[in-house]
Amino acid sequence: MQALYAQLLVGLINGSFYALLSLGLAVIFGMLNIINFAHGALYMMGAFVAYFLLNLFGINYWWALILSPVIVGGFGIILERTMLQWLTGLDHLYGLLLTFGLALIIQGVFQNYFGSSGLPYAIPDILKGGVNLGFMYLPIYRGWVVIFSLVVCIATWYTIERTRLGAYLRAATENPTLVRAFGINVPRMITLTYGLGVGLAALAGVLSAPINQVRPLMGADLIIVVFAVVVIGGMGSIMGSIITGFALGVIEGLTKYFYPEASNTVVFVLMVLVLLVKPTGLTGRAN
């Protein structure tokens, strides 16, 4: 029974990565209608930027949490301005193919320069060690990841669903012409939204750097699962992604305990089941 509690908690920790990543994807899809396949590569870039900040400039983890999303988000804005904006109004497929190509290029470049085995990034001193919860030894860093991700997820959800800025954003995606008539610069909002989604991916990358090796393929390993999360949650649904992210982390954790061999596929089995029953995803609305 104790082991089960431990697996539940570990699942929750992994779920927080899924939630953060799928949140960015959902924001981008919801606002830009682009299936951002480069998300995994941008997550990887987030981790690499944190590594460079530390090793080239001596800038620590805490600053990396702010700087890395800003830098990678800036890179995202350049991508949007130079490439993605030309796809506005076209079929989803074009965005998917373009971002998939970008992902392969970015990963290829990093792999060419940094190899495949990865680079070390240490846990910041203050978050080292762990606490004995009775049923498991919880590394403090993992606890921090869960809490931090939850806060970021809720803040993003609140901004989009409950603030004036969020209302503009949602209106701009519903009816851009009308919103433009009110004097709001819609293309700029779209660009900034892409930057925000990319920043969220980079943030998840910084959070994961001390746990996983900083590797060029770290995003490629994760991106398919994250897509499944977004599809199960309902494409573009912010709350759906957050809840599904955490829930799938837990379900995957339990599978690792009861039948480890299936832990890579359980998410996709669930995706198939959900799509058969509710094709728009758990909280998605029919368009």
């Binding site: 495949s116 993992r142 390993d221 305990y257 061999e261």
Partner: protein
């Protein structure tokens, strides 16, 4: 009519006779490096293996004697079907004579069938499964660097003797992991230890926390990592995070490479024990080769033992070809010659190839240095013990390979 027919037969005989004479003098060789170029083992083999093969070609001095030797390479993506398709294309279209590296046991076992069927050669230095020279041995295969029997025997036995008598395995869920767990289980129980359990994880996992918690709950003294590459580094890093080592359990990396230690950093890797058959800093010859290798390698890294195996295996292959006087393009014949000649190269020293295709050389048990003990880049290992080749590898008396006459 009759005379026409006999003239035709005579002509054919002449052409074939001349042909076989030409084969004996044929001095063209094509080498294919079939490896993981882009996945989790790319630093272990990958482009470094191509470089090692090119260096072997240059160092053999055969070009000056009129030989024409080409090296090609391809990515098998850790998929047996991709590996076998490439191998078939290489044989049928590009006329490749020898395939080297082939890390990933799943791919190696599949490619072995192609190599045997097409009668070319595989000099394998990357795959670990000991089945390659045991139950599934082939007259066309030489297995150079290490295998699961040797790794299990060396690391497993040493750790049981040092008091690690109860084990729990984290095993990569494919041919290699299964073979390594099986062989280590045999070695550990033979040395008086017992196995408390194991968990199989999918290849290329990024999160090991669930599996590590199960290892922790087992209370085993040793957590054996029957995986490799990125899987091993991630499990070691996360084991440190979950307090496995500080809680009194020990980690045994059953297959580790210098690229893994470099990627972990000495802070995390210090104190780990594992077995390798090549280390760049072993002696003057290995240092000289490694210097030349790292000067030319892309990230200036020294060779891994897989790279060393590609080099040494080819050097020996060229010796066999020279002894035959040309390239007969008959894989089994060349391998038979390779087994006949004693091996002697700068990287693995003196040794031999057994009838089952197993290359025999010493195995070294290393311990990773503390950061304070390391004097420079890649100065990572302390030599703890050496096992002579004939003790390190499976004795022929235990072999079930049909090529071994009893």
């Amino acid at each position: 009519m009759k005379s026409k027919l006999s003239a035709l037969m005579l002509g054919t005989a002449l052409v074939f006779g001349a042909g076989s004479g030409a084969f004996a003098q044929d001095k063209t060789v094509k080498i294919g490096n079939l490896t993981d170029m882009s996945g989790l083992y790319a630093d272990v083999g990958g482009a470094g293996s191509t470089l090692a093969a090119q260096m072997a070609v240059e160092d053999s001095g055969l070009a000056a004697k009129g030989w024409k030797i080409d090296v090609v390479s391809a990515d098998h993506q850790n998929k047996p079907d991709v590996g076998t398709t490439t191998a078939r294309q290489w044989v049928d279209i590009e006329k490749v004579d020898v395939i080297v590296d082939v890390l990933n046991s799943g791919v190696a076992l599949a490619v072995k069938n192609v190599v045997t069927e097409k009668n070319i050669i595989m000099i394998n230095s990357g795959a670990a499964s000991s089945d390659l020279t045991n139950a599934q041995c082939s007259p066309n295969v030489v297995h150079w660097v290490y295998d699961t029997y040797m790794l299990a025997n060396s690391t497993g036995t040493a750790l049981v003797k040092a008091g690690g008598d109860s084990w729990f395995f984290l095993t990569a869920d494919y041919a290699f992991g299964a073979a390594l767990e099986r062989d280590t289980t045999t070695a550990v129980t033979k040395a008086g230890g017992k196995i408390l359990g194991s968990v199989k994880h999918p290849l290329n996992s990024s999160d090991f926390s669930s599996f590590l918690l199960q290892a922790q709950a087992s209370k085993a003294k040793i957590v054996g990592l029957a995986n490799a590459g990125g899987d091993t580094t991630n499990s070691i890093k996360q084991a440190a995070e979950f307090g496995i080592v500080s809680g009194g359990q020990r980690l045994a990396g059953l297959l580790m490479f210098i690229s893994d230690v470099h990627s972990l950093g000495l802070n995390v890797a210090q104190g780990l024990n594992f077995t390798e058959t090549f280390y760049w800093d072993l002696n003057d010859q290995t240092r000289a080769f490694s210097k030349r290798f790292s000067d030319r390698s892309k990230n200036k890294a020294p060779p891994t033992m897989v790279h060393a195996g590609v080099y040494a295996g080819l050097i020996h292959y060229f010796k066999a070809l020279e002894a035959l006087g040309g390239n007969p393009h008959d894989g089994a014949k060349v391998v038979a010659k390779m087994k006949e000649i004693k091996t002697d190269d700068p990287l693995f020293g003196k040794g031999e190839i057994q009838p089952n295709g197993r290359k025999i050389h010493p195995a070294y048990l290393f311990e990773v240095k503390k950061p304070s003990e390391s004097k420079g880049p890649y100065d990572y290992y302390k030599l703890v013990g050496t096992t002579p080749g004939e003790q390190a590898f499976r004795p022929l008396s235990e072999s079930v390979c049909p090529l071994v006459k009893k």
